[in-house]
């Protein structure tokens, strides 16, 4: 499997996915 960090677009998509995951974590478990 290709490393998504090898491309700028893969890096941005990975960052957006991580943002959503952390957001859901923060909303549901940190309040």
């Amino acid at each position: 499997m290709k490393n998504p960090l090898d491309s700028i677009s893969g890096t941005i998509v990975s960052g957006l996915v991580l943002t959503v995951i952390l957001y859901v974590f923060a909303i549901n478990f940190l309040r």
Binding site: L5, T11, S14, G15, L18, T19, L22, Y23, A26
Partner: protein, 163 residues
């Protein structure tokens, strides 16, 4: 007044840090590959990259320190943020991401770049390994900068529930 200055320093140094991170990823890395192909890379590796790395790594330190001081002197609390307590949780997530990124800068990227740029002795195999390590750490930081900025901005403005 003191808090405004510290917060401003945190923001300006953060722009310098992340701005240079984006410069490395969007401009220098692809530019250097093209320059190597036509034999003009020396100008970048000798004159541009060391200066960019100097501002990059020290801007990271200033950003983190100013952020840490702001957390403690403001009404958030350094420990509250890093322990993700209550209202400090969003900015705390940002603080953790920034701390991981600072670690990447000083423990992975800078030592690897010193080998790549010939500032410390390394053979060709070591340089190739260091270049890949620096590249992936730099890309990791670019990826982390997206949630970092989200939570840094979300912190003072609350974290609205959209799902």
């Amino acid at each position: 007044m003191e808090l405004i200055l510290i917060r401003s320093l945190h923001i300006v140094a953060g722009i310098a840090w992340i701005g240079l991170l984006y410069y490395f990823n969007l401009v220098q890395t692809p530019g250097l590959a093209a320059a190597k192909a036509d034999g003009t890379a020396a100008g970048i590796t000798k004159h541009i990259a060391p200066r960019a790395l100097l501002w990059f790594r020290w801007a990271a330190v200033v950003t983190w320190l100013a952020g840490a001081i702001y957390l403690e002197r403001g009404n958030i609390g350094f420990l509250n943020a890093f322990l993700l307590q209550g209202a400090a949780a969003p900015i705390g997530l940002g603080a953790w991401l920034g701390t991981i990124m600072l670690f990447n800068v000083w423990v992975v990227i800078w030592p690897a770049q010193k080998k790549v740029l010939g500032l410390v002795p390394a053979d060709d195999a070591e340089k190739a390994g260091a270049a890949r390590r620096a590249f992936l750490a730099s890309r990791t930081n670019t990826m982390l900068s997206i949630p970092l900025i989200f939570f840094m901005v979300a912190g003072p403005h609350g974290l609205p529930k959209v799902f």
